[in-house]
Symmetry: D2
Subunit: 464 residues, 4 copies
């Protein structure tokens, strides 16, 4: 048993407990049922502690053996090997102070253990004065959050690349299948099913590019700025070295904010990242709904994966599509929450960063999950060529392909005539009315997908 | 090792695994990183399984010894004693089918174990034909969700009642402390600090009442409606008995939907509940921000709970307030997500119920947490009477209390005169200008808080 | 030309300009491009001015001839006959002060004109001291807003009633048409098209009821509370009489807030109303999307209303559906904005009431428009019986109707067998396998829509 | 009187009515109370009509005299000189078809008038076959919307530049004023008021840059793609020339979409633009709230602009701040609506583009208004140096500046000692305890704002 004290009193801790009194306070103050702080964020904070200890060691602020022990303790967190359960509530107040404090305490005590000293021997290694030296929650927390976001964005980028690849595979596979293009869910004009999947691929390609650009928006960090970005309490040498060290240690393209007061106070950079993610969410929802629609009308078949009902034998539901839509809706709406957090921050820091950070990391996870399960699903999609083509040629919508030849008014007349006739095959009807040459020429697949026609002579309506 | 099969192939399961092939499919299909299905929802489903088995037993559809075993298995889930980890992803597709299937399988296999039979002996107790008899995911899942919501709403109601009580305690305590009322964050007219806390109490009282009314909105359930609300496959006697049994077994005031097709298809009832919660969220955010403001200007002091900074000694932050605001923002925004889910459901069921359900249960948890931590915090609030009164009497805003006597134009003149004078105490200034009798009479605390004045003689501006 | 002055200087106004210097300030301060203040709100404020003048007259605070002139001026606004263009920006700061000030000025000057006096003769009738006597923007504005909301809610209720009626007409019309019920957009079990429309009618019926309840939530007003709800500057007699007078003059069931400080400070009542509207929006979106889906697959036909394309002859789009969805989306999202406004209000009033009020009035207008155009559209819907029934009997989903007889496992076997056979008509296939008696009995329309079956003898799976 | 006909019947129009039957249908089908289509969008469509007519003329599809007349008619719309009131409802269904149709009709009829022919002589100039030649609503409408957005973004950029300039002017003006930096609204560490305004300027500078980048995201247009992006009905030469012509005629940096099917179907580009605007909204809200806070505590004074109350003489409210916050909230929430519209589009076009477009143009207007009124307001802000400095030196928060010298534990002890002492001036207290040299050196303004300190010798806690 050991006793620690703070401004507000004392706390009893068992001898081996790695956290200290500040964590005791946090546990007491935030008895919340919601999610806990992301492990990726905790690891990123530990990385900063490690880099900071080493820089402080190089500058003579911390003795080498302490630096070594702190580094080892931090590594145990980073590698997930520490015997400590960082289950801090994600929606804690205090702008992340409790999370930072807890990690300071755990590293200090673990480092003391490594050095064979008792937990709580803070006169030797102090959670704040040693482990947190030249740092503040207000520069550590946002810097770590950005590190965690960048890494997750890269994972999302890979997932998006795979999804794009899946769509492109299908684009090629369905390249020669003519099908009905639809606007406002009504038959419009012909296209190929390959083009349909190409347009999905294009949307996801933009998302990939956005993730890449999103990284640029948040790679500027305020580490070294301490409490409000002025670097108060930190030596200048440390400020310049810590960013270099962190970049080297993590391999991430981090840059020092030119105006760290601004960087500490304003959270609009996260709005940009959440917007990137919102665009991805929007595309995933749109694509998933389109795939479901095409599957519902039988033009494509989604892979069948599990019994869809506890009561209706043989029923199979588009469960992956529905999962993707739900993940997309969740991400889409979290972007509004992030905007709220960013808007409501006050003066020198954004006190809602814990909620903002948890939401943005969650968004990326949701979208990565969605891309992953959708990629696999898309690869199993089959296009039902007969249905597509039969449907296309049995409607009047191919008339548009003839507009350059016959004009709008005449086309309307033909459509009306067909609709009141007993004929069911519009292609045959057109051949009967206009001759096979002109019809076959215009409804040829390659012709339909070429950009524009090359008809020379124009027959105007008034002449026909 | 045992083998199970479905439409899509087979799955190997270890002899003692309680779930079956449908759960195997779900695990494979939904490799998601997000939250898992609420235990409260799982328990509510198990309750329905129990009641259904008993009704089916009474009607002769299931043999007594099977009913007993199923009941015992369900009770183990309800009591949290079953040795099975229901970690199904909350954002699964399939409208909850996988969750229902998993519970069916676990109950069937556990019941078989209880009866000394091997897991997988479905010819004796079948997950679907026996455990799910006369049920569908589409009536079980929403009914269970509503049961879980009602129970959580009651917990929230209690938390809100405690918060209201805390505010009322302070209302009484600060009853005689005059302070500045502020509109648009500018000094307005006098009030008591007690009234300030009374208005917080009033808002929370409405929230309590809303929770109570919210329960009414969702106590109508579609159990017995099976797939789409028509009760297909279920015997009429079962349909009428299951709702009675469930009401009796749970003690919840559940009612059978008159039009179960509507009740199965439409999710607007959840919008109403989420709106109740949004109103509570809005009130909590508003109140928390007000408390923080009053604390910032020193008129009240929030309890000091933990060191607020890893760098600034002695700094203490309003961490409970910030937690409450974050929980409120989260709940507020989840209400938009619930609206989305409800709006996008299609035809005979809402396929986004898993996301909707998880969000609404989460909202209630967030708000309950918020009320709980805020209640405790409010009880520790101190009002700094000297600051309140000094600030009040040193501003010109108390002039309003004299308007019935002196009129607006004259009041404006006095204010202007005071502002250009060297005087700092407006009360003294007024006494000098208007005499002490009239001033003291009008600025008397009890007078100020009474509803309106009783001045008989009106001195019109033009006469003055 | 006349000169008016305020705290900040003077303003030149032409002799006949009805507004005064406070409006001049507002025009200069808020050069906004957005919407202007709702005329309904302006008229409701004028009604309050009229009632207040009359009460003040009865109590001897304003001379009879002034009351008469003020009443006449207010009536001109209420009747839309005043020659003044109230185009004040809706998103003005100041919690509505400029709107209230402008109406005070216009009424004062118009009343002076009526009495044959020059505009600006404020020593006789003063915009603030006379017209605004015993009032504050902070009680006038929210009271007027609630009056305007109640009236609009009633219009929406009528529009919803008409929509409900339209659905019920179709419910009856399509009562005998069997069709496929669909869950997760996949074929599920049979139902009638009448039931489909009945479930739309039920949802809208709840919306009607919600509108009615919504009125209850906001009929409590803070008029008489003046600046912050304490009634400061107002005589007690006035406070009690004004609410009676306003109720009598308007015929609206207004009630005085018991705790006017709370009523002035907290905006959660609007959250409840916006939630009512959000539920209606959600239902309209859901229904519109369902109608579009059923139209897309040909089971119903929406009325054709206009050429759907400038390029594709004969194309007709579901434009009313798309309008309804857009109006629903707009309303749904405005509800989030209203929540934001309500959450961010500070201390004794909600300074964002102008935005909140404009949004809530707009929501009601959008939803009323949506119901109106949809009602008319629904009446023209035709159900394509042949398509519905052919589709139903050509799928395996009707197997569910036989589950009580044959059990799930056997049903699955039959479905699989059918799917690998060359047969296309599942009903015939079933008759072949099970005999016509059992099949026809179970797939009988009236049987299918009855709540549950009455089969006595249960053939368990293991026996078959 | 003239008669026009379409698929659905006939319509009587007065001889001179510029619109035709398609507009008659739209008016009848969309009797909406909401906003009307943006004039900027209508003008952009007219510009496309003009360019298309000229390209079609060059290619020999339209006779020169017709081109001239169409061009003149289009110019009349562009210049706002046409005698026609384009009050089409903004929330119309049909993906903008009615708007495009109306403009086609008005241009055709006006061109006929110019040529001395009767309105309705469509055999000569046809609204669709001539004016809409080689176009579709589906390429015209989104292209025009992007043109309108780009132009408005440029206006917003200018407004943001002005706002940035205003903040920078104050940054310089307040450069030497020390004040309290605050985190979580609690006293933190010293900074200058200049830095505060610099951080506002930085945020707005990023917004400017985002507007610039936002333009890049939407300058790629699908004109020439016609119905679904395949360019069906349009000659290839036209497709390549129209984009060149439009770029030349408008001076906008428009580019042709490589994959026009994608560009027609997917609306994620608008999500990016709305995100840019959301970031700006978030910054404006954050800044406005900060300014209001600093004004409330007296450290800055906002310009006084208008009487703030109809009842409290002398009260002045931060009305510009409140307007900015409301405009920001409106824009923030519209971004969620835009995401919804983008997510819900189906297959080959986004049918909710009318709502999306109106919302995005509105967002830009709101934000431009906000920047404009805030710029002017900021220029009038005064910093109250005495209040700032007195407050700074009377708190313990400056202790942080001494941490590098004395360490955290000793600092905590000093703070506690001061708090229990009768001393009120912490600076004097520190001088007494630590000597004036060390205190003055560390609390020197230039020292405080320098990035980090250069203290060589570190006095560790254990030595003190």
């Amino acid at each position: 048993m050991r006793i620690e004290k703070d401004h507000f009193g004392t706390a009893e801790l068992s001898t081996d407990t790695l956290h200290g009194i500040h964590t005791v306070r946090a546990i007491a103050n935030f008895p919340l049922t919601g999610p806990v702080v992301s492990q990726d964020l905790i690891k990123a904070i530990a990385e900063i502690k490690r880099s900071a200890a080493e820089v402080n060691g190089q500058l003579g602020y911390i003795e080498p053996q302490k630096v070594t022990a702190i580094t080892q303790a931090a590594n145990e967190i980073i590698d997930g090997k520490i015997e400590y359960d960082f289950s801090l509530p994600a929606y804690q107040g205090g702008a992340g102070t409790s999370t930072n404090m807890c990690i300071n305490e755990v590293i200090a005590n673990r480092a003391l253990q490594i050095l064979g000293m008792a937990c709580g021997t803070y006169s030797y290694i102090h959670p704040i004065e040693t482990v947190n030296m030249h740092q503040s929650t207000n520069d550590v927390y946002p810097t770590a959050l950005k590190m965690a976001i960048i890494r997750k964005l890269r994972i999302l980028t890979e997932a998006a690349a795979e999804l794009q690849g899946a769509f492109q595979k299908k684009e090629k596979e369905f390249d020669q299948i003519l099908t009905m293009g639809r606007t406002e869910l009504q038959n419009a004009v012909p296209m190929t099913m390959g083009s349909q999947f190409a347009s999905f691929a294009q949307a996801i390609e933009r998302d990939r590019w956005r993730c890449f650009k999103g990284e640029e928006r948040i790679r500027t960090v305020n580490i070294g700025g301490t409490a409000i970005g002025t670097g108060i309490t930190a030596p200048q040498k440390y400020i310049f070295r810590i960013i270099e060290k962190l970049r080297a240690d993590t391999g991430l393209p981090l840059g020092r904010a030119d105006h760290a007061i601004d960087s500490t106070a304003n959270a609009d950079a996260y709005v940009e990242v959440s917007a990137v993610l919102a665009a991805n969410a929007v595309n995933l929802i749109k694509i998933a709904m389109d795939l479901r629609w095409l599957h519902s009308v039988g033009e494509i078949s989604l892979p069948q994966l599990q019994a869809g009902s506890s009561i209706m034998p043989g029923k199979v539901n588009p469960v992956i599509i529905e999962t993707v839509i739900q993940l997309g809706l969740k991400a889409k709406n979290d972007s509004a929450l992030i905007n709220d957090c960013a808007a409501l921050g006050t003066l020198q820091i954004n006190e809602y960063l814990p909620l903002l950070g948890d939401s943005i990391l969650g968004m990326i996870d949701r979208l990565t999950d969605a891309s992953n399960i959708l990629s696999k699903h898309v690869l199993g999609i089959v296009c039902n060529k007969e249905i597509c083509e039969k449907r296309l040629f049995n409607t009047t919508s191919i008339i548009t392909a003839l507009l350059p030849i016959i004009g709008y008014d005449k086309a309307e007349v033909l459509v009306e005539e067909f609709n009141t006739s007993t004929s069911k095959d519009f292609k045959l009807f057109l051949i009967e009315k206009l001759g096979s040459e002109i019809v076959n020429q215009q409804i040829d697949p390659s012709k339909l997908m070429a950009l524009g026609h090359k008809i020379k002579k124009v027959v105007s309506t008034e002449d026909s």
